[in-house]
Symmetry: C3
Subunit: 349 residues, 3 copies
Amino acid sequence: MKKTLNEIASFLGGTVVGDDQALIGSVRGIDEAGPGDITFVANAQYEQKLLTTKASAVLVSRDTESPGRNLVQVDDPYAALGRLLALFYPEEKEIPAVSGRAMIEEGAEIAPSATVYPGVYVGRGARIEAGAVLYPGVFIGREAVIGEDSVLYPNVCVYRRCLIGRRVILHAGVVVGSDGFGFANPGRDNLKIPQIGIVQIDDDVEIGSNTTIDRATLGRTWIQRGVKIDNLVQIAHNVVIGEKSIIVSQVGISGSTHLGQSVILGGQAGLVGHLDIGDFAMVGAQSGVHEDVKARSIVSGSPCMPHRTWLRAMSCVPRLPEMRTTLNHALKRLEVLEGQFSEHLEKKK
Amino acid sequence: MKKTLNEIASFLGGTVVGDDQALIGSVRGIDEAGPGDITFVANAQYEQKLLTTKASAVLVSRDTESPGRNLVQVDDPYAALGRLLALFYPEEKEIPAVSGRAMIEEGAEIAPSATVYPGVYVGRGARIEAGAVLYPGVFIGREAVIGEDSVLYPNVCVYRRCLIGRRVILHAGVVVGSDGFGFANPGRDNLKIPQIGIVQIDDDVEIGSNTTIDRATLGRTWIQRGVKIDNLVQIAHNVVIGEKSIIVSQVGISGSTHLGQSVILGGQAGLVGHLDIGDFAMVGAQSGVHEDVKARSIVSGSPCMPHRTWLRAMSCVPRLPEMRTTLNHALKRLEVLEGQFSEHLEKKK
Amino acid sequence: MKKTLNEIASFLGGTVVGDDQALIGSVRGIDEAGPGDITFVANAQYEQKLLTTKASAVLVSRDTESPGRNLVQVDDPYAALGRLLALFYPEEKEIPAVSGRAMIEEGAEIAPSATVYPGVYVGRGARIEAGAVLYPGVFIGREAVIGEDSVLYPNVCVYRRCLIGRRVILHAGVVVGSDGFGFANPGRDNLKIPQIGIVQIDDDVEIGSNTTIDRATLGRTWIQRGVKIDNLVQIAHNVVIGEKSIIVSQVGISGSTHLGQSVILGGQAGLVGHLDIGDFAMVGAQSGVHEDVKARSIVSGSPCMPHRTWLRAMSCVPRLPEMRTTLNHALKRLEVLEGQFSEHLEKKK
């Protein structure tokens, strides 16, 4: 497929600067791109590469100029890149089929337009809706539901009774609905609390590979609409994640903590249990959150504090030894001065 | 199944306050519960919900009162909840069977009362004992042993020769017995040290989804009786975890570190190799442990220190910039004073 | 298999001290070894065990002596242990075969000398080269390549078009090529950026269980020759890891960060995106790396700083409360002294 810059700009709602008839056949990174390619600059840090790239055209922000270069100026180059990639590289569609080598218990319900690969297991009472795709090694527990057009990559495991919405993407090795970590008298009896709740994942959620989401003790662990979760994240029992929140890799969220909508958690952050994190709050990478976080606030550090406080505090840490030495010297000088002054007063008597 | 409060109290060894003939059909969370439900308050933080819950009865501690409400007072409401859930929601038992669609090498030994789902693989010389349940996608390496009544959820992988005890629960995606991370001259030759030891997991252990436990270089990596491990934990070669220890999610334990019994490691803690962690020690979430920890002590922080020291130190961190400013001002005042005093002495001469 | 100490020393290029005809049948840890066993001391910390071990012989460094004990002195006892283990415990070789119970799409190409277990899935256009071993539950996406003599343990997933080199070892549950975490307007629109690049893994790489490596947005995520990665590591889109680097467990590397050769990252370290980490750099465990790291430098801490600075700074942290108290006392003394001095001057007037 080839498109002119004019067609591309029109598809993206952008403006061509330069040759609007230039033909584009593919989208490539700014270092690798050559003739016939379009590339992008979404980050001012990389703007200098405009001078050296061999691409035939570059997606840039509205205010970016680069004389002699073909540009497509758009409001948001990164978002435009996303739309352009979807145009040039549409997802391969499977011819829907339920493989005879899939293992389907009697009483499972599978829509005729679903794709079920060999090596999939579907328990009785489960329902696989229209257009869903289950890759090899996927396990669907009894009475679980996989919504329309959802894609479960290889070896995803959905335990019994869990509910997956529409257009959900679960990457390889995701586990939904394993038992929450609940034991009475930990370290002494370790008495297991049965985990009889479920996990509910709403529409348009995407979850990265090998992430684990535990079922609720009672009720549900709930991932709301449009949430995006990265790889190797741990979500404990009865956690609620509000709409459109973003959870970066290796975050851990303890039991019964609730996130509002559009919360962003940086990589490797850890949240203790029973917290409320307000709408649009942000938590820095590697932070340790031990108390509620207000809506629209930003916290960092372990234990966490307001982000700006943290920045200032962290700039002091490498200077602690110097501060300590200075303090000790000051003390000695103070002592000397005190001695001299008291000696002076003595003399006066 | 419905039970009167009287029957429930008698099963739990508790005391009814209120209508002991009230009929209970299910157990639900305090916010969701309604007529016919029993709920629980295990945490004083939630006691105020006693006033608003619509539940027909509430499991509470011995000293909790709430006039006009049906209560079942017990010694430990959370433990009682566990027993009640097991009563109301008994685990569904499979009719034992070895699926013809499981892949069993010749020379594997499988007890007739085991349940082996389609899509399971069992290597030669392996032994699956009575009552064990292997879900689809489980892999059992050669000469491995799975003890009586253990349950291995989908896609669990047990490498060759590893030993799993009785009543062990391995959640989906757990890996037992992959090679320890041992390379001579790291960064230079990266010469692989063959890992010829095993993993031994004793009775009544439960391990969370996608947790990984490496086989020993020589000898064994050993998870002792009653240990409970959460999701996404990493346990390196030759680690020993003492009885009844509790390892919270995303902890990492490096090679040859030994934990005593009833140790509790908070989420995302990291332990370097070759340490001894004493019985009943506790390690705070996100701690970095670089030295031995004595029995019954509590450490936090990265690098770790006694927990109380850490609490006090952390309360200073946000005030570091202020401390630094104060110190600099004090220095200036000291300098001024020194100058004035020396000038004063000069004048006297 | 039994070998004399003489034969062992000659195989390792070492020197026997003691009875060079002593017969050795196995290699065991220093605490477990007995008659007929050889053991090793690779760490000075364990040298005292030379006095008590029951082993018939011990691998030690060139300068270690222990009168009355049979020793094999070598340049590097740990490397020698590796070679000895490979000698005494050679890997079991499979008789190559492609199982009829594997699921192979038409148009996949599988070398006759490859071993493909039952329960493996290979997509069309994929190529499995000579001597490769695919364990049950492995998924190979379309047009992916698995190089000669590579071993993929159970439930490894290689997404479409990814390239795995020769003699690569992927432990159970590794995911190669899941979508990078790219969304425009995070927290607002969460517009998915299609991830159309690949992952390329070069020869002689080993990757630990349940580690995840995301495909590039455009171009490739690239793990170069001889890299060793531990369990549960997260590698984001477009990351490059230079030759022979060592990545310890639970590290997370964000998008487009590039590591030079022979970099060593300690456990649970986190790196933000778009960084350059120089050749032979080292990053301490649990560090948070937010800026470029120069070649051959060592950094620690979160946020990171030079390792020696960090060591000194961290030694101050437990003393912060004391520093604060000292500072406040000094201020008071300073105030008193200022008062007394100014009073003294007043009197003089």
